[in-house]
């Protein structure tokens, strides 16, 4: 049995190999510098005062006692954020209603305005000589609240009589705005064909409702940021982020300060999974630094991370699928309502567009509600929105398979999306690899191995993510010894220094070890979007390839100059530069590199890209479980993750993404959830009570990398990180449902919920 297989179409010299990552030694010796490892002389420590209520009006804040506390250097509240001050002081009509609302939401999640909207909502910040003094001062800030009824459930929030979080929030729906204010921020609808007619033509129709709990990305490193507002007006920020340019843009807006005066240095990042795309504290420490003239550092506690960063949304969903007796899907209708948290902007739109993406169904309807509730503002979490939607859709598909007595892989092969399939919201798939993944699953030894126990069952599910392009920049400078320095703006969250260096080495025809990658600050590279959305190896890889092409062209020009001929006579192939009409004349890359300084100076290649050729990705997961009917505990016996990644640049890190995503999905399916009490307070804000999988809970996670090359990338790269978290939710839930003979429609399928279902 092979634990990790790679089904390759094309082999390359460097791309597809498994070299040691460039930052590896620093990370196994403790030398890598993460955000909280920074130690600047004279740094003050900051702490945040957070709301004890899920929903309340702030009647007054008195910071005078805290300001007088020994060691305290500054205390600020929402009024001290320049964006909030601008909104408060603007003349009527100066700022449009929609801008006012958007800017208010932006500012108020850093420090509350006139209301607190979730327990843990930041209200005030203190900077002091040490963290104990800062914490002691928090207790001296007097805040008078008028409590309001909390809205902690998406269905309640949508109800007629619900309390409103924002009195001026109206539902945006298909270009119209509701007259009455509502907790429903927006309603979206996509339709193809005629779903009702499709259901009437179906031999079998199944309709079910589903719910999922709020979950957290669970990165091990808490959010951290340090800012120093220098006397010359230059603001320097060091932080843990997936996107230094997003931090710069957000800080610029909240501080009403030009981006040219803000430099963001991304430190090593201790996990993010989408949760560190959003920033929470950089503008706050910046204002504290401006007030004190000293560097100010803030590190969240684990409880603050749970209560006041951005979890993935809880959801309520309804799915109706119709098929004929042969198992051909005829019609599908998916309704999603996601909890956005305190401010609008849940990932219900991508959830909606992913929901039916695995199926070539002639009639489809997707509708989606973005709903505010008194919980922390949700953030991205790996394939945002897709896992919840897949749980609902794939669960109905599993029931259809049971009703029709069909093999779940045969059913999916019969209905699989393929090149030319039009999605419900419009786009037509290009070259995709869902069928190849399903065939790999059917051929896998796991699938052919029978189960052996009576409380065991197998779950199978597919998942989708579109993948992303967006902006990336790379510079490549040739050193005199034939190596190159590769600088980029993409934070390395899981091995992209390696995967991007490999692409540069491949394009330049040099060794992987001759590429020295560095991740630089926002002053030192062009605008680069976040590391997220499965875009980095694709888009920053594209930038590295184009910067390499730029280097190659300049090297050809230099050789032409040395040989006193036309550049058209110079060939650059596999790292060798040669004169086409005189085979005696040739340089290796290293030989020409040594001559650069004497023939015009250093060569630097550059590329700024916004590639549009991202390739959509699909995954298929198999899981065997055994359920203990006495305790309700589910044991994962065997797991196989299969995915079309286009081309695996570094297969080990691709497998790592697939395994890590699968395990996060297993946690989401089986155990992880925010427990809220009736007051909207999270009751399990520690790693003891928020139960993420440990090594002991799991088997090995087998993988099959399927490579259906993406035509939109020189080496066929699609991207990998998002898809693996999508199939586990329905695969595990279906396996448990089959094992106990009861269809589970709520996540997590925790021991308690399983026992409840069995009683």
């Amino acid at each position: 049995m092979v634990a990790n297989q790679v089904l390759s179409e094309v082999e390359y010299r460097v791309v597809g190999k498994r070299p040691v990552r460039p930052d590896g030694v620093d990370k196994v010796t403790g030398r890598a510098q993460y955000g909280s490892d920074l130690r600047l002389t004279g740094t003050l420590q900051a702490k945040i005062l957070r709301s004890p209520h899920a929903h309340a009006k702030i009647k007054s804040i008195d910071t005078s006692l805290a300001e007088a506390y020994p060691g305290v250097r500054a205390v600020i509240t929402g009024k001290d954020l320049p964006l909030s001050a601008k909104l408060a002081n603007a003349a009527p009509g100066e700022i449009s209603d929609s801008d006012r609302q958007r800017m208010g939401f932006q500012a108020n999640n850093f420090l509350a305005g006139d209301k607190v909207l979730y327990k843990g909502h930041a209200v005030a910040a203190v900077a002091a000589v040490d963290s104990n003094s800062a914490e002691a001062a928090l207790a001296l800030i007097k805040v008078e609240y008028e409590e309001l009824p909390p809205v902690i459930n998406v269905k309640d929030a949508m109800g007629e009589g619900s309390a409103l979080l924002h009195e001026n929030l109206h539902t945006s729906s298909l270009g119209e705005t509701s007259e009455k204010p509502s907790n429903v921020a927006s309603y979206m609808l996509f339709e193809k064909g005629d779903v009702e007619q499709g259901f009437s033509q179906s031999d079998i129709v199944i309709e079910r409702e589903y719910e999922t709990a709020s979950v957290h990305q669970g990165y091990i490193e808490p959010h951290t940021a340090t800012a120093h507002w220098n006397a010359d007006g230059q603001l320097n920020i060091w932080c843990s982020t997936q996107g230094s340019f997003v931090v710069r843009a957000t800080t610029s807006e909240v501080l009403q300060y030009p981006i040219s005066k803000i430099k963001v240095t991304p430190m090593e990042i201790g996990g993010g999974f989408g949760g560190k795309v959003t920033c929470y504290q950089e503008p706050v420490v910046a204002v504290l630094s401006k007030k004190t003239g000293q560097p100010v550092k803030l590190v969240m506690s684990r409880t603050e991370v749970f209560e006041a960063s951005g979890p993935a949304p809880g959801s309520w969903m309804r799915v109706k699928l119709g098929a004929n007796k042969d198992g051909k899907l005829i019609s599908g209708k998916v309704t999603l309502a996601f909890e956005a948290g305190a401010f609008p902007g849940s990932p219900v739109l991508p959830g909606s567009t992913c929901s039916l993406a695995c199926y070539d169904v002639p009639n489809g309807l997707n509708e989606a509600y973005d709903v505010v509730v008194n919980k922390p503002k949700t953030a991205a979490y790996r394939a945002p929105g897709s896992p919840q939607a897949a749980f609902a859709v794939e669960s109905v598909v599993d029931e259809l398979c049971q009703e029709l007595n069909m093999d779940p892989i045969e059913f999916r092969l019969l209905n699989a999306s393929k090149e030319g399939t039009r999605k419900v919201e419009g786009p037509v798939f290009g070259k995709i690899g869902l069928i190849e993944c399903l065939e790999a699953a059917r051929n896998h030894e796991h699938y052919k191995t029978p189960l052996t126990g009576e409380n065991q069952a197998r779950g199978i599910a597919a998942g989708f993510w579109m993948n992303r392009g967006f902006h990336s920049s790379c510079n490549i400078t040739v050193n005199q010894d034939g190596t190159v320095n590769l600088t980029m703006g993409s934070v390395d969250i899981g091995g992209t220094r390696a995967s991007i260096s490999q692409q540069a080495a491949e394009a330049l025809g040099i060794e992987y070890t001759d590429v020295k990658p560095t991740i630089v600050d926002t002053d030192s590279i062009g605008y680069t979007m976040v590391t997220g959305g499965s875009r980095t190896s694709f888009a920053t890889g594209w930038a590295a390839i184009l910067a390499s092409e730029d280097v190659k062209q300049q090297m050809r020009e230099r050789a032409a100059k040395i040989w006193e001929t036309s550049v058209d006579d110079i060939e650059y192939k596999d790292g060798v530069i040669s004169h086409q009409s005189d085979p005696e004349l040739q340089f290796t890359f290293g030989e020409l590199a040594r001559q650069l300084n004497g023939t015009g100076g250093t060569v630097t290649g550059q590329a700024n890209v916004d590639p549009s050729g991202e390739g959509n990705s699909f995954g298929v997961h198999l899981v065997d479980v055994e359920v203990d009917r006495d305790t309700g505990k589910t044991k994962v016996l065997r797991y196989t993750a299969i995915q079309d990644v286009g081309k695996a640049v570094h297969p080990s890190y691709v497998e790592g993404q697939m395994q890590g995503g699968a395990v996060q999905g297993i946690g989401w399916a089986l155990n992880e959830e925010y427990f809220f009490n009736d007051n909207g307070h999270m009751m399990n804000s520690s790693f003891l009570d928020y139960r993420m999988p440990t090594a002991l809970d799991l088997p090995m996670i087998d993988t099959v990398i399927v490579e259906v090359a993406n035509p939109g990338h020189p080496y066929g790269v699609r991207g990998v990180g998002e898809v693996p978290i999508v199939p586990p939710l329905p695969a595990v839930a279906s396996a448990v449902s089959r094992a106990i003979g009861v269809r589970m429609q709520k996540l997590p399928v925790s021991p308690g919920s399983i026992l409840e279902a069995l009683w």
Binding site: G30, P222, E268, G271, R302, Y653, E655, G656, V663, L696
Partner: protein, 158 residues
């Protein structure tokens, strides 16, 4: 400064003296007093294992040990795992098996693994998973970590 306690201890084989407040954890002493930031903080309540160090050879979460408790003891941190001659086989195995993604949990895993293999050089998969259950990794799903530990066992035998 009044109220500070003098602690005399051994860290990674070197005698070390430091002053700390009685309430400061060993983790705070390592990171904030001594500037040894290789030991990481993930939760500060003993549940993630990122701050794992050895105290007289036993694994502890240094956020749950007071700095003053290090008095007269031997502390081993991630900074003491490699030698001037090169990486420890556990570190080498983590590199070669791609057992880290973000790397924030890695120091804790490596210190905990070293402690296991010092005692049980033939630990099997089940024993490894049990031993490492106190260390959370959110990136890898543990597969490549467990494989690295098995690989390190082989490396240490040869």
């Amino acid at each position: 400064m009044p109220g500070l306690v003098h602690v005399e201890t051994t860290i990674n084989g070197n005698q070390v003296n430091f002053l700390c407040e009685p309430r400061q954890s060993l983790l705070e002493c390592l990171r904030d007093v001594l500037g040894m930031t290789g030991t990481k903080e993930g939760c500060n309540d003993g549940n993630c294992g990122a701050c794992t160090v050895l105290l007289d050879g036993r694994i502890v979460t240094s956020c749950l040990v007071l700095g003053v408790e290090a008095q007269g003891k031997e502390v081993t941190t991630i900074e003491g795992v490699a030698s001037p001659e090169g990486l420890h086989p556990v570190q080498q195995a983590f590199l070669e098996n791609a057992s880290l993604q973000c790397g924030i949990c890695t120091p804790g895993f490596i210190v905990a693994t070293k402690a296991l293999l010092d005692r049980e050089p033939d630990a099997d998969e089940g024993r490894i998973r049990h031993w490492l259950a106190g260390n959370l990794c959110r990136c890898t799903g543990y597969d490549k970590i467990v494989r690295a530990v098995l690989d390190a066992e082989e490396k240490m035998k040869s």
